[in-house]
């Protein structure tokens, strides 16, 4: 390589790098929402429908209502590939964009949520981790900027146990339950809850960690199917791990009806690769299934008919619907905050107030066209979970169907656990909890 080439390379590198130093584009008076998505990488089959649901909902709000009370929503996607470092980079890149900065952030990964909790709290941007992330962040006095509505992993664990209890005619005494989980922060979340419930209800809990990415589960399932022979298996899996688990469970002859996954183990991407083996498999869920809700008709009519929207291929999938509901809750939090601060783009701090005063009753849900897609929630200063309910669905080989009513997790016990864990966190971090009595 000669010197001229080297200098040319250096010069072109400098040209490429120069725009990075330039000031960000001047923002219009819109409410900006950064979208951390994973449309590539090992978890893309789950990430794509989620991201599509978000975009379609925001487009619908802009097209149908002209924005939230006249304030249009703008958004920008940033690809994380479900990678924590990239998630942090995306957050830092997007947090100051738009007229008022990011109004809230949906990390869409337990790992990224953990990495963002402190940063976002310092930046005064709400972290909306819907059904993932840190369960004890429900305690708003310690985590003012983290929202876990409508249900945490701990609530999900409790709801699953309640469902099993109902199937077992009310008593779990002497029953054996196995937990197959992804050996990461995400997979470990329900353990403490399931253990506490085990003491209370009298079942024994056996833990089966599965190393990432979860393709190797032969030994786990031989042990479950041949040695332990549990009455029920609960799964906290993610990505390729789910379909593998379903296939392995079928291979050892474990009945699918007694195999329940958490909501991240219950989408089309999880059961379809397992084929016929998955028939009868169940999972917990807090958002509805199918394309029957009024909002689906509106999306077809307002977006797809006019060649707008991007989610046609994933329309009505479990995770697409979850994206819709997530976006809807975020928009309602903004709308609530507008009631106090006026109809203009709001800052993250103002949206935080909106979240804490969010009250989505059944009437509101019906008005938004989300009938059947979610249960009512009501948040407050100290309760950032909002009392959402969990439903159990079953895969019939083609569709997910409800097999239970919406189950309300037993929050008296859970709140005690949330509080104990949150106070431990506050002590470690020298945080003085907010006074939520006012």
């Amino acid at each position: 390589m000669n010197i001229r080439k080297l200098l040319l390379t250096a010069a072109s590198a400098a040209v490429v790098a120069a725009p990075l130093l330039a000031a960000p584009i001047v923002a219009k008076a819109e409410q900006f929402i950064p979208l951390l998505v994973y449309r590539t990488g090992p978890y893309a089959p789950s990430g794509i429908p989620l991201a599509n649901g978000f975009v379609d909902y925001f487009e619908l709000i802009n097209a149908r209502d002209g924005g939230v009370n006249g304030v249009k929503i703008s958004w920008e996607e940033c690809e994380t590939s479900y990678n924590n470092d990239r998630g942090v980079e995306c957050y830092e890149r997007l947090k100051k964009q738009g007229a008022t900065g990011a109004s809230l952030v949906n990390p869409y990964s337990t790992g990224i949520t953990y990495a963002l909790i402190e940063r976002a709290t310092a930046d005064k941007i709400p972290v909306f981790s819907m059904g993932y992330g840190r369960a004890d962040a429900t305690i708003g006095s310690v985590f003012p900027y983290v929202f876990t509505a409508p249900a945490t992993y701990w609530a999900g664990a409790d709801a699953i146990i309640q469902y099993i209890q109902a199937q077992e005619k009310g008593s779990l005494k002497g029953k054996k339950i196995a937990l197959v989980y992804h050996d990461s922060a995400y997979g470990k979340e329900p353990i403490a809850t399931l253990q506490a419930l085990g003491k209370q209800e009298g079942y024994s809990l056996n833990l089966f960690p599965v190393a990432h990415p979860g393709l190797e589960q032969k030994a786990t399932w031989l042990q479950i199917g041949r040695q332990l022979r549990p009455d029920w298996v609960i799964m906290w899996g993610w990505g390729v791990m789910n379909a593998t688990a379903i296939k392995e469970a079928a291979a050892v002859g474990f009945p699918m009806e007694k195999f329940i996954g958490i909501w991240w183990s219950g989408s089309e991407a999880d059961v379809k690769p397992a084929g016929a083996a998955a028939k009868g498999y169940k999972s917990a869920q807090f958002t509805g299934t199918g394309t029957g809700a009024p909002i689906h008709a509106q999306i077809r009519e307002q977006l797809y008919a006019k060649n707008m929207g991007i989610g046609k291929d994933t329309f009505g999938e479990v995770l697409y619907n979850r994206g819709l509901v997530n976006a809807a809750i975020a928009v309602e939090a903004i709308r609530t905050a507008q009631g106090k601060f006026g109809n203009k783009p709001l800052t993250g701090e103002q949206v935080q107030w909106g979240f804490e005063n969010l009250n989505m009753t059944q009437e509101v849900i019906d008005k938004l066209g989300l009938t059947g897609l979610m249960s009512p929630i009501k948040l407050s200063c100290n309760d950032h979970e909002g009392g959402g309910a969990v439903v159990i669905q079953q895969w019939d080989g083609k569709n997910w169907n409800y097999v239970s009513d919406f189950i309300n997790p037993r929050r008296e016990m859970l709140t005690k656990m949330y509080e104990a864990s949150a106070m431990q966190y506050a002590k470690e971090k020298n945080i003085t909890p907010r006074d939520c009595k006012m």
Partner: protein, 359 residues
């Protein structure tokens, strides 16, 4: 051209053995340090400081550590991620068990813990080498991550196994970890640390111990015959390398992400650092920095470019383009110069000294 050493006479042994014997290099280094310490904190915004420069510096430190072991001492290792995790978890345990301990001492002690673990896993190097040793260090990688994941004691029985950095000040109100620390404080603290560590590493490689590493690397039997003790040379390389890598891990957890789980230090992290020193240049301190810049910064740059020049293309397309261009660049640089970016820089300097008649 201006870069030449004609007229610069060395009149003492000290001048002859300086790290930068050419005046222009010395000035270049001083200007770089001045910019890094005084200009960047003023002009750079939070995004640049926290999500670009901080990970770059942390990875530079880790790359220096691995370069000592693999580049200088010739011991191929795939355990970098495990040693980083050691440093991170040791720093967490120390800082939560002894809250009054100064954070600087916490980092140094956590480096020490990683060094001890490094020596333990370096023992097989006395019997095996090359790819066989790489497989042995792979065991360290998997074992350490499994251990931190398995035993709650390491993360103070956190329900999810995640550790998070408590807020700690270097002195008085100068917080360098936790959310209350300002980005500038974090950056300056890390930069100072990395600068001092890089200087130490540079001098280590120039003195007796570094020469014994290189002798072992180039031909271990010959080195033994001329009186170098392989046991000392190999184990010291493992200890010092792990010390650097351990501190890098602690910095990653405490200054960059703020909270990590053991999986953040999985095998991919080891590969990442190994690629840095291969691209940057084996056996070169400068190469560690260049390699870290290439592996950490280039993907972020590639990812940002379409948005900045106003291209409206979907994010998944950008991500795929990023992989393709990044992969192509790795192949390009390794074909152009298999000895890494540091060697390219060295060639450029040699050409400039011969200018205008390079051959």
């Amino acid at each position: 051209m201006i870069y030449r050493e004609a007229g610069q006479f060395k009149t003492s042994y000290a001048a002859d053995q300086a790290i930068f014997p050419i005046r222009l290099d010395r000035w270049g280094m001083l200007v770089t340090l001045f910019v890094a310490f005084f200009v960047i904190p003023v002009v750079a915004n939070e995004y640049w400081l926290l999500s670009i420069l901080v990970p770059f510096l942390v990875f530079s430190l880790a790359a220096i550590g691995l370069n000592i072991l693999t580049g200088y001492a010739g011991q191929l290792s795939l355990g970098t991620g495990g040693f980083m995790a050691c440093g991170a978890f040791a720093a967490y345990k120390l800082s939560t068990a002894f809250p009054e301990l100064n954070i600087l001492i916490v980092f140094l002690l956590s480096g020490g813990v990683a060094a001890a673990v490094g020596v333990l896993f370096g023992l097989p190097s006395l019997r095996i080498k090359g790819f066989y040793l790489a497989v042995a260090t792979l065991a360290a990688q998997f074992f350490l991550i499994w251990m931190f994941n398995k035993f709650g004691w390491f993360n103070n029985y956190s329900p999810s196994g995640v550790i998070s950095a408590p807020p700690r000040a270097l002195f008085g109100d100068f917080y360098v970890t936790g959310a209350s620390a300002s980005p500038v404080a974090k950056y300056l603290f890390l930069l100072g640390f990395v600068a001092v560590m890089a200087l130490i590493a540079k001098n280590l490689t120039r003195c007796k111990i570094g020469r014994s590493w290189m002798a072992i690397r180039d031909m271990d039997i010959a080195a033994e015959i001329i009186g170098i003790r392989p046991l000392m040379a190999k184990l010291s390389a493992f200890a010092i390398s792990s010390f650097f890598i351990g501190i890098a891990g602690a910095m990653w957890a405490f200054i960059y992400t703020g909270s990590v789980e053991a999986l953040a230090f999985d095998i991919n992290r080891s590969f990442q650092v190994l690629f840095m020193i291969i691209i940057g240049g084996l056996g070169s301190i400068l190469g560690s920095f260049l390699g870290a810049a290439f592996i950490v910064l280039l993907p972020i740059l590639l990812n940002n470019v379409p948005g900045l020049i106003g291209w409206q293309i979907p994010v998944d397309m950008i991500a795929h383009l990023e992989f393709m261009i990044f992969g192509a660049l790795i192949i390009f640089f390794l074909i152009v110069e298999p000895h890494g970016l540091a060697r390219l820089w060295q060639i450029a300097k040699e050409k400039m000294r011969l200018w205008p008649f390079p051959y």
